[in-house]
């Protein structure tokens, strides 16, 4: 079974549309994340949720809205898509918060978003 699964894997859409990416983890982790990897391959955190509560929101436009119905799911909804939103979006999870406690992060396979 896939530990962190996200859908869809590929998404091509027009500017101005609204789209969602879904994510689920079956690891029993408390914390989930959304990362964005741009064309230069830099991986940057967008959001972090711990037990359904938002704990990190890294200067992301309001058009991006994460939603966590339960601690195993973290979905990403994007309104009014722009060309610059084209990137790979990774969902991830960890037991507890990342970083300071040394927890490692488990990533999904990514969702390739192309805005045309």
């Amino acid at each position: 079974d896939t530990a962190v699964s996200q859908t869809p894997k590929y998404l091509v859409t027009q500017m101005g549309n609204d789209k969602s990416i879904k994510c689920e983890q079956n690891l029993g982790h408390d914390t989930m994340y959304w990362y964005k990897q741009d064309s230069k391959k830099f991986l940057k955190i967008m959001f972090s949720y711990n037990n359904k509560e938002l704990i990190i929101n890294e200067t992301v436009p309001n058009r991006f809205s994460p939603k966590s119905p339960d601690k195993a799911h973290l979905n990403l909804h994007i309104n009014s898509l722009e060309l610059g939103d084209s990137a790979v979006y990774f969902c991830a999870s960890s037991q507890g918060g990342q970083g300071a406690s040394g927890n490692t992060i488990y990533f999904g396979e990514g969702s390739w978003l192309t805005v045309v």
Partner: protein
């Protein structure tokens, strides 16, 4: 501001040699540093974690060092194989439950 640097140029080595990748960071002191591997079209996969009080960590053919004075971590793959070809990302913790990823170094191991 905090900065993490990895060599953006690809590292090409011959099979059987030792690959050494560098991660430099500035303007902060991470308590931990993690290394991840990313294959094309896939998500990053955790490899090793090293703490600030550890000089070196090993796992099979992998070795990571952590020099808090130089603000540098080195990632070594001994007896490299073509299957080791991937992009390797370092990720020092930047406090506040945050990890920040470097831009990664692409390793190409030629048979």
């Amino acid at each position: 501001s905090q900065k993490i640097e990895q060599n953006s140029e690809a590292l090409n080595i011959q099979e059987g040699k030792t690959a050494t990748l560098t991660c430099n960071y500035t303007n902060y002191s991470p308590a931990y540093l993690q290394w991840y591997r990313q294959d094309p079209g896939r998500g990053p996969v955790f490899l090793l974690l090293i703490r600030e009080n550890e000089k070196e960590k090993r796992k099979e053919r992998l070795k990571v060092t952590f020099d808090t004075t130089l603000k540098q971590s080195l990632f070594h793959i001994t007896a490299s194989q073509p299957a080791d070809s991937a992009t390797y990302l370092c990720a020092p913790d930047t406090g506040g439950n945050m990890l920040t990823f470097g831009g990664g170094t692409r390793l190409m191991v030629k048979p």
